[in-house]
């Protein structure tokens, strides 16, 4: 029995602790919401429109003025009224210190989209009333605005609103497209060009004079002027006479016995003159002459 009583006491203590914890949690959760409310002496809280009568789509300003005794930088928990039938074109808030407190103004720029007499309900401000320390909701006066225009005008307003929206979307789309195009162009410009096939020209050869100029003339020219160009001409003519293919070297010609060994030796001698150092070209050409004359 005693043991049962002990267990019962423990359960009771546990239940109490849980209840206390929940209560504390609830209190802590509620505290921030209460702490967000400003402690204010609200002297005036009003709303006005700068125009009593506006045309459809015509902008006008709705001003919400607050005067409080405290010095504040901004007023929180100010809720705008329901602005159905109006397009909000802009919103501006400012607070300024004034004699005996602060003057805060919120100016909303609106454009009516529906014609007729439009009543804008009052704005609200949630704050702790400093006079009694209780959380209160202050409400401004409502404002009546006469929106002139026919149903056609209304449709026109709706159409102009639609047109404005479409135009804005088109402009945003255009800007995005331009930005994407610029990025793409920049990417393509920086991208390295794909490797192109070998652009190296085949080793150039001096032209062989073929207008009546025979092999003997070329050899004579080499004898008179032992230059690399003349040696290359003679070599070219000799290779042509052996039906050498473009990719065939002297070793290939020897391998397939493209000519008599003496002729191939002459070609080797001319090749030496064609590819040796500049200073030795003349001597190599002279050394090749006995092979060529033979």
């Amino acid at each position: 029995m005693a043991r049962r009583a002990l267990v019962g006491e423990r359960r009771y203590a546990f239940a109490c602790a849980v209840a206390l914890g929940v209560a504390v949690a609830c209190a802590l959760a509620g505290a921030p919401a209460r702490a967000q409310l400003l402690n204010l002496h609200v002297r005036s809280f009003s709303m006005s429109a700068d125009r009593a009568s506006v045309a459809l789509g015509e902008p006008f300003h709705l001003t919400i003025s607050t005067h409080v005794d405290e010095r504040v930088l901004q007023i929180d928990n100010l809720t705008l009224p329901d602005l159905a039938g109006f397009d909000s074109l802009g919103d501006e808030r400012r607070c300024a210190a004034s004699a005996g407190g602060s003057d805060c103004v919120e100016i909303v720029t609106l454009a009516a989209t529906i014609a007729g007499s439009r009543t804008i309900a009052g704005a609200t401000l949630d704050a702790v009333d400093a006079r009694d320390g209780k959380a209160s909701r202050f409400t401004t006066n409502s404002v009546v605005v006469e929106v002139t225009g026919t149903p056609g005008d209304e449709l026109s307003g709706m159409f102009s609103g639609f047109l404005f929206g479409a135009l804005r979307a088109a402009l945003i789309g255009l800007v995005v497209l331009l930005a994407l195009g610029a990025l793409l162009w920049n990417f393509l410009r920086r991208r390295p060009a794909p490797p192109t096939p070998a652009a190296v020209e085949p080793a150039s050869l001096p032209p062989v004079p073929d207008s009546g100029a025979g092999f003997r003339d070329l050899v004579d020219a080499l004898a008179r002027e032992p230059t690399r160009a003349n040696a290359l001409r003679v070599r070219h003519a000799m290779r042509a006479s052996m039906n050498a293919r473009d990719a065939e070297t002297l070793a290939d010609l020897r391998a397939r016995r493209a000519a008599e060994p003496a002729t191939l030796d002459a070609l080797a001698a001319v090749e030496r003159a064609a590819f040796c150092e500049d200073a030795r070209v003349a001597r190599a050409a002279q050394e090749a002459m006995p092979f060529l004359i033979r």
């Binding site: 490797p195 096939p197 070998a198 652009a199 190296v200 020209e201 085949p202 080793a203 150039s204 050869l205 473009d246 990719a247 065939e248 070297t249 002297l250 070793a251 090749e271 030496r272 064609a274 590819f275 040796c276 150092e277 030795r280």
Partner: protein, 300 residues
């Protein structure tokens, strides 16, 4: 020099010539061929003929980078760390069966092959000059081998394929190696000779037309090709000229002719081209592709 090599190795004239050209050009060579074709013997003969220091590393799967480049060991007497240089510090290094070691060990050779220096701990040690790596590979047993990465293959000046000897050569092998192995000819040249030959090779004249021929050959490997994924690098261009110069020097010339370039191109290109899967699926010989590429370029 070539005769000294030929006194040891029967046949394989092309292999011995290529080894000599690479030695003179100051490049490294990799020899690939089935077992028993005297790859290692050719490298040893070259090392013996050149003189200088020779080291051999048998590449195995459990080899470590420090087994090649060296490591720092604690000296109890001095109470300080001392650097124990590895076998890479030699004039001629034989990396036998190089593809038997994993990539990290193969990579240990990279710095030495290209920069001619090795970094052990905080210190960088220059390698002896001349420094020549001769590596051997066996293409048959793919199990337990690690293909060399392209970055490393590109550092070899040439890849020499070793083929089976002819019947006459095989008879000569039987006569020469049937009894006691003949002594290798040693100290035919000195490392100083090698350096002098290398300088002479660098002075060999290359005409502008020859240079353009070299570039055209390398560019030809980079053209879109049905069996190629990638062509040769600019290092191949330099390697081709260096090999052609060495070849011209060995031929007693002070200038390069088109044949020097043409003959040097296959061993310079074959390990630098990335052949695609079609060469395997269609059983195309990569060597025929190299030959075809070279044959498509106009000789100056």
């Amino acid at each position: 020099m070539l005769d000294a090599l030929a006194a040891t190795v029967v046949g394989q004239r092309d292999v011995l010539e290529a080894l000599l050209y690479a030695t003179i050009a100051g490049g490294h060579v990799v020899l690939e061929g089935p077992p028993g074709l005297a790859k290692t013997l050719a490298c040893r003969a070259l090392a013996s003929a050149v003189g200088g220091t020779f080291k051999r590393i048998q590449f195995t799967p459990d080899l470590l980078p420090s087994d090649i480049v060296g490591t720092r060991v604690f000296d109890q007497r001095t109470g300080d760390f001392a650097t124990a240089l590895g076998p890479i510090f030699a004039n001629v290094l034989l990396a036998d069966e190089i593809n038997r070691a994993p990539a990290k060990v193969q990579s240990a050779l990279l710095e030495g092959m290209q920069e001619r220096q090795v970094t052990i701990g905080p210190a960088t040690h220059p390698l002896p000059d001349p420094f020549l790596v001769t590596a051997t590979m066996n293409p048959l047993d793919s199990d337990g081998t690690y293909p060399l990465p392209f970055a490393q293959m590109d550092r070899f000046l040439m890849k020499i394929l070793v083929a089976y000897p002819s019947a006459e050569e095989e008879l000569a092998i039987l006569e020469r190696f049937g009894g006691a192995p003949p002594a290798m000819l040693s100290d035919i040249a000195t490392p100083a000779d090698l350096l002098r030959w290398r300088d002479e090779a660098r002075a060999v004249f290359v005409d502008a037309r020859i240079a353009r021929y070299v570039v055209a050959l390398v560019q030809a490997t980079r053209n879109p090709h049905e069996y190629l994924d990638r062509g040769a690098s600019p290092r191949a261009t330099l390697a081709l000229v260096a090999t052609a110069r060495a070849r011209a020097l060995c031929d007693g010339r002070t200038f390069v002719v088109p044949d020097d370039v043409r003959a040097s191109a296959p061993p310079v290109f074959r390990h630098r081209l990335a052949f695609n899967y079609r060469t395997l699926t269609e059983n195309v010989d990569p060597e025929s592709i190299v030959t075809e590429l070279i044959a498509g370029v106009t000789v100056p």
